[in-house]
Amino acid sequence: MDVKPNLAHAPADGGDEVQLRYARVLGWGTRIGLALLLVSFALYVSGLLPPQVPLQRLPQLWHQPVAQYLAQTGAPTGWRWLALLHHGDVLGLVGIAVLAGCSGLCLLSLLPLYRKRGDRAYLGLCLAQVAVLLVAAAGVFGGSH
């Protein structure tokens, strides 16, 4: 069966360039995030960086809802963890934040390409997606208990 795509509205050029740039930035972001995750976890479980919540206490805490866990441990919510990075368990959140944030960087890296091409629809879509990620990251909706 013949399937003939309508190419009348295809981007003028550079579809591959978008894909490759996104892939390159995402590849690096993921590698850095995973490396940070592993290093911080090693520092955490080895005791080189003391945790905010002692390891031995965890089995009595991790079966509780997050609100009770926070009330009993004083663990940080929102971005307050940035002030507690000297604790091994809190440091682990850096790698997680990099993993959750690297897609935003990928989208920002596409903006010059879409602008150069005059692709306003995708320029807007990228900005809107970055805005959604920023809203989620900022904790605008229920950032803390």
């Binding site: 795509p5 490759l20 972001g29 629809a121 995708y122 229920g142």
Partner: protein
């Protein structure tokens, strides 16, 4: 370009295998079942258990889940929440936070390669990911606000729904799209990919874009609410509803997932529902297992693995449902 439509609900990407791989597969599934039931049995003695037992068991369970997830054609994140939520002593809030990270890390790790190969289309993913990631924030907030019994019950129902979908869903390798819809045409939602199996260049385009956007809005809510990867829903929506080729659907699903789960993960992170002690062994175990699973694709029987995964999901789904209803606590 001539493209032969191919509808085969029973098609497996794996070659036929003999008795030995089947035995290996059954052994792997038995270990996974044994581990999960052992974990459940031991959960009664949580207080007396050294702290490191559970993260170590979690790592092993995720490693095994990662191995079976690839040949079963299901995301590790979809297995994680029902199994860990049902058989480990962690609260569902933390399990969902870790589940999102498992799905996110897996999607992020696979996406660059898929994009370079043209199997994940940024152009197709962006509009769908935008609506799904916005709704996933609402889903995540809803999940953290609802009583755990309600979430557990709904999780059980959704997992049983996934089982039904796995049993019944058809796949279409090259769906027929006679003409794109107006929105799809305006957004130029089409592309070309090279089929590695045949070496052919396949042109593709999509239709029913507005309906697709609505479906992805709902998928985003589910992803945020339950912390499960939504590949099980993304692929049928892209393939059967919008008409993208199966391989492009699977690749683009991962890219959509990476954006949707990023939004939802921030909500769980901000609410303090991400414990590195649960999340890190899960992510590392699942990613290592997925690497082994990809290498064992030609050794393990995809059909047998798939039946085992359906069996485990059925058990975990029933367990979550009954736990939520207070019947099996």
């Amino acid at each position: 370009m001539p493209v032969r439509p191919h509808h085969d609900p029973t098609a497996s990407p794996l070659p036929p295998v003999g008795t030995a791989p089947r035995t290996r597969t059954v052994g792997l599934g038995s270990i996974l079942l044994l581990l999960t039931t052992s974990a459940h049995a031991a959960s009664g003695a949580v207080a007396a258990t050294p702290w490191w037992i559970w993260p170590a068991a979690l790592f092993v369970a995720c490693f095994l889940m990662g191995i079976v997830a690839v040949p079963a054609g299901i995301g590790g994140g979809t297995l994680f929440v029902p199994i860990v939520g049902s058989f480990f002593p962690f609260h569902l809030d933390f399990v969902r936070g870790a589940g999102l990270l498992v799905a996110l890390a897996s999607a992020l790790a696979a996406a660059p390669m898929l994009m370079r190969g043209g199997l994940a289309s940024v152009r197709l993913a962006l509009p769908l990911a935008l609506v799904a990631s916005a709704s996933s924030i609402g889903g995540a907030l809803l999940g953290l606000a609802l009583p755990v019994a309600a979430v557990q019950t709904a999780l059980g129902l959704i997992v049983l729904g996934i089982v039904a979908l796995m049993l019944a869903a058809r796949k279409s390798e090259f769906p027929t799209v006679a003409a794109p819809d107006a929105l799809g045409r305006a957004l130029a939602l089409h592309g070309v990919f090279t089929d590695g199996a045949t070496g052919r260049h396949i042109d593709w385009q999509v239709h029913r874009t507005p309906l697709g956007l609505f479906v992805f809005l709902l998928i985003g809510v589910l992803a945020g609410l339950f912390g499960i990867g939504a590949g099980w829903a993304n692929v049928p929506a892209l393939n059967l509803l919008m008409g993208a080729p199966l391989k492009v659907s699977a690749g683009t699903s991962g890219l959509v997932l990476s954006l949707v789960d990023s939004s939802a993960a921030w909500v769980y992170l901000n609410q303090g529902a991400v414990l590195p002690m649960i999340a890190v062994p899960s992510v590392v175990g699942m990613m290592l297992g997925a690497k082994i699973g990809a290498r064992l694709l030609h050794v393990l029987s995809g059909a047998v693995i798939r039946r085992l995964v359906i069996g485990v999901l059925l058990f975990a789904g029933m367990r979550a449902l009954l736990k939520g209803l207070g019947v099996w606590t």
